[in-house]
């Protein structure tokens, strides 16, 4: 094959307003036959309207059942550079904080052992090393672990736990997302690396109901920060919003999903007993409003993308749980969920599909939870969470 790289169809992808992965690949094609053949095979796929990858299911590193995704070209003679093109998932840091030194070390390893192509970050959250040959898997694994990194999850295991930046950079964080992610990652090393479940199990931690990790849509178990008491109000700052000409009525009051906000003069009033923690008012007027002080998490279960069955959103199983180290209550619940799913789940059945199949009532009985009204199905479509003790206190006043 000629060394000349002609990719007229891929070139079209460089013409839009957004940065193009094609441009990135081309910038590396000059120094990597693997990347060059990747572009060529992709161009052929676009032209022929079919994929030319074969799925490898056995490649990996010794002792681990996850972290490596095998890929082979279906046209190895035509594109020898991608005859093998395996992916490694590298367990990302909590909150995705890296030093330049750490990233440079990783990329030096990947330039030496693989294509040099990096995806930050994959859907589960990992750093994704794209493209290497079978013989380089163990050397890559050795090199990254020597620098203190590890592989992430893949297959029927606990997928790499993922979280938002939490209290490191966000005043809305209702719990320490990074601490819990770190704790889960270390506590469940076997579950992460040695596939033992019916199917994958994803846990995502979001510090507040803004849900920056999309836990409610993309994780089997969403751990989402929430508060039980009242939204904190700084009336002086609210008055500043009004004085600045900000249209509070249009942009806040009328957009409140439960209409629990009213304004009298330059004073905001919130009926907290009807607040569903949608975060809109807090996001819109962050200087005037803030999350409450009685903080914890809501735990959702069952979200998934439409691979085997249709897409599901998470539903609330635990409306409020305090979330502080050593997180015993959380681990106890997780253990009961895994035990029950392990015992009665089917092969390739996600926890959400399992709940749908056996029924919510059977499921919550099976994991030892009492049914309560706050177990709201897919709460972004329904009124969210109410905490009766606060209404009672309000009424008693």
């Amino acid at each position: 094959m000629s060394d000349e790289l002609k990719t007229p169809l891929l070139d079209e992808l460089e013409k839009g307003a957004w940065p193009s992965f094609v441009t990135d690949l081309k910038s590396m094609a000059g120094k990597s036959n693997m990347v060059k053949d990747l572009l060529r095979q992709l161009e052929k796929s676009y032209r022929d309207k079919r994929g030319y990858w074969k799925h490898g299911g056995l490649v990996g590193v010794m002792g681990y059942g996850g972290g490596v995704i095998g890929r082979y070209s279906a046209l190895p003679d035509e594109f020898p550079g991608v005859s093998h093109f395996h992916t490694l998932r590298i367990n990302q840091t909590s909150g995705w904080f890296y030093t330049s030194k750490a990233l440079n070390e990783l990329m030096d390893i990947w330039d030496e052992h693989g294509s040099g192509l990096l995806n930050m970050h994959g859907s589960t959250g990992d750093l994704v090393f794209l493209g290497t040959v079978s013989d380089e898997l163990e050397p890559t694994f050795r090199a990254v672990t020597e620098k203190g990194w590890d592989l992430g999850g893949s297959g029927s295991d606990l997928r790499t736990p993922s979280c938002c930046v939490g209290p490191a950079r966000c005043e809305n964080a209702c719990f320490d997302t990074m601490a819990l992610t770190y704790n889960i990652t270390h506590k469940y090393q076997d579950e992460l690396h040695r596939p033992m479940f019916n199917y994958k199990y994803k846990i995502k931690m979001s510090g507040c109901p803004n849900d920056c990790t999309a836990a409610i849509a993309r994780s089997d178990m969403g751990v989402i920060g929430i508060w039980k008491d009242d939204i904190r109000v700084n009336q002086a700052e609210f008055a500043n919003y009004v004085d600045s000409g900000f249209n509070v009525q249009e942009f806040v009051v009328e957009k409140c999903p439960t209409k629990c906000i009213s304004v009298e003069g330059k004073e905001i009033k919130i009926d907290n007993s009807n607040c569903v923690k949608c975060m809109h008012c807090i996001n819109t007027m962050p200087k005037a409003l803030a999350v409450g002080k009685d903080r914890g998490v809501a735990i959702t279960l069952g979200a998934k993308a439409p691979i085997v069955e249709g897409a599901l959103f998470g539903s609330v199983m635990v409306p409020f749980m305090k979330m502080e180290p050593p997180f015993e209550e959380f681990h106890d619940l997780l253990g009961r969920i895994w035990e029950f799913w392990d015992e009665y789940g089917k092969n390739r059945e996600r926890i959400g599909e399992f709940i749908v199949r056996i029924g919510l009532a059977t499921f919550i009985e099976g994991i030892g939870l009492d049914p309560i009204p706050q177990m709201v199905k897919q709460p972004r479509d329904n009124p969210y969470i109410f905490f009766e003790e606060y209404y009672k206190e309000e009424e008693e006043k």
Binding site: K54, H55, G56, G57, L58, V59, G60, M62, G63, Y64, G65, G66, G70, Y72, S73, P76, S83, H84, S134, S154, G155, S156, D157, D190, R194, P195, M196, F197, N198, Y199, D342, N347, R348
Partner: protein, 83 residues
């Protein structure tokens, strides 16, 4: 009672199951665990089964495979592999 059957014995039994089903049925960790508990009752715990699988994998007698879901298999060359 738990612990009466050695992890080595459980691993050997599991290996036999995997070897017998090779090419016919892909067995998951849960399949092996349930089979051992069915065979030995409360003489085997889930942790025993987990330890046995770990021994099979770490010794290289078995490997993890993935085809839709994860399975435990006898080491072999996969069909998709290019030489």
């Amino acid at each position: 009672m738990a612990g009466e059957i050695s992890v080595e014995q459980i691993a050997d039994d599991m290996y036999s199951m995997v070897a017998e089903s090779a090419g016919q049925k892909k067995l998951k960790a849960t399949d092996l665990t349930k089979a051992m508990i069915a065979k030995y009752g409360d003489k085997v715990t889930k942790q025993d089964a987990k330890d046995a699988i770990k021994q099979l994998i770490d010794s290289g007698r078995c490997i993890y495979g993935y085809f839709g879901g994860s399975s435990i298999e006898i080491p072999h060359t996969e069909g998709a592999a290019n030489q």
